[in-house]
Symmetry: C2
Subunit: 277 residues, 2 copies
């Protein structure tokens, strides 16, 4: 597991690696903007170690810092190598991202499957890396022969070309959520809480009472079904105690207003000598 | 389910939506490059419908086409609206992406949970949309009040700021793989096949025979363990029939070469009058 510190914004966020996280290795990257965007995506996903193999336009390049949006620490710590063999020499396990597996015999994993393996291996203390190829051509056959397995994203087969930093984003995302236990759906209640059935029932009683009073439920035959339908509506999604109080206020206010208007109408009608039933 | 056609590269890939796919709605986007990169990410993930609410620098903008890398059709079909209400008026269900939920009561989903719901809803014929906020500030409170639920990626809490097109990439990726059944790990064998245990045993017998012949297994006490360890090694990962044939050839060649050398050595030793045991 990683923990990250952020103490200031001078020179970007104060990002540090804590724990054993995989190395992202950009092989012969062409555009500095993509190197910077890669650093940003890595920081989003809790990755820190960036290696560059023979970056086309040299290193460092100012444009990378501009597209890193504060992930400067990763760029400052980036290591540059002349070739893939040197860049992976100290690693125990290496994955290679590859959109189209060619005529080779190789283990192919999904981003999700690969991330699970990376989590398992890094937790055993193994140093792992992920190779990403150059923008135009991707990794070549020699690069792939150095990897333990390929990682391939099962995306739209008719539009497979991902931007380099987008490809890194997908892996960083999968790495990060591989140990995440956020529930897929949750009502964020902040200062209030989900209403109990008793609180809901209090509200329903007030509502029915006011609806009885204004005559909305005067059809005795339809009354049980109408009340039941309202109850169905108010139990459709979770509702908070605070919302019930607001709804309570809405109904009181509408009812009071109606009674005020009724009274004003009565007075007006009395004054004009008319009556209504 | 979607199917995509790609017939040419003039004006980009020939992408068409087939089936009911969610609309991506960029709210007050600032940079044309991000609009183009969004279109590319959408195409990667099999999304087609792009809507723009009040793009800062107007629309169309040539820079968007340059960063779309061939996803031109999505940009050409993009619809522009003045406000969020107009952009979502025909939709049944709307999600809003939001990195930091504020003091509101709202359902929050993960990208994965949200994608599962989008798949379920679109398969029922409901029109769905996902709101993405402007680069600098994200969606405002009024925008979020219009959404059925928020989607929040559980990424590095100390570096939450995703590039706009990266945020779209994560949702497009999750949308795409939500119905994907690719195994997480698979040996891609192409023209060959995974070796049967019988094929492996044939190879092991040849190997042991050659090793016996060259004396590598001459220690009778250690011999069974050594053979077993070799067998452990050759069963560690899957091996293909083709690879076994290659290894067979490697061993034959090494053995033949050794025998040739042994013979040459014998002749040399005989000529020089020396012998070795």
């Amino acid at each position: 597991m990683e923990a990250w510190l952020m103490t200031g914004r001078d020179g970007g966020a104060d990002l540090h690696p804590i724990g054993n996280t995989p190395v992202v290795i950009l092989v012969r990257p062409q555009l500095a903007e993509n190197i910077g965007a890669t650093a940003r995506a890595m920081a989003n996903g809790g990755l820190f170690h960036l290696r560059l193999v023979a970056p086309r336009d040299g290193w460092p390049q100012e444009r990378a810092w501009r597209s890193a949006s504060g992930a400067d620490r990763l760029l400052e710590a980036a290591e540059v190598f002349e070739n893939v063999d040197d860049a992976i020499a100290d690693l125990h396990h290496v994955f290679a991202t590859c959109p189209r597996p060619r005529h080779i015999v190789k283990t192919v994993m999904t981003a999700r499957g690969g991330s699970a393996e990376l989590r398992a291996m890094t937790s055993r203390g193994l140093k792992c890396g992920i190779l990403f190829g150059p923008e135009r051509a991707g990794l070549d056959n020699e690069d792939m022969a150095r990897a333990d397995a390929l990682i391939r994203y099962p995306l739209n087969p008719d539009f497979m070309s991902l931007n380099l930093s987008q490809a890194v984003m997908v892996m960083a995302y999968e790495w990060c959520i591989a140990t995440d236990s956020t529930p897929p759906r949750e009502l964020m209640t902040n200062e209030t809480h989900i209403a109990t059935k008793g609180e809901l029932d209090n509200f329903m009683r007030q509502l029915v009472k006011e609806l009885d009073e204004c005559g909305f439920l005067r059809n005795e035959q339809k009354r049980p079904g109408m009340v039941r339908n309202l109850r169905h509506f108010f139990t459709r999604g979770e509702v908070t105690e605070q919302e019930l109080r607001t709804l309570h206020g809405v109904i009181s206010e509408l009812a009071t207003n109606r009674r005020r208007k009724d009274k004003a109408m009565d007075i007006a009608l009395t004054h004009s000598g008319e009556t209504e039933d």
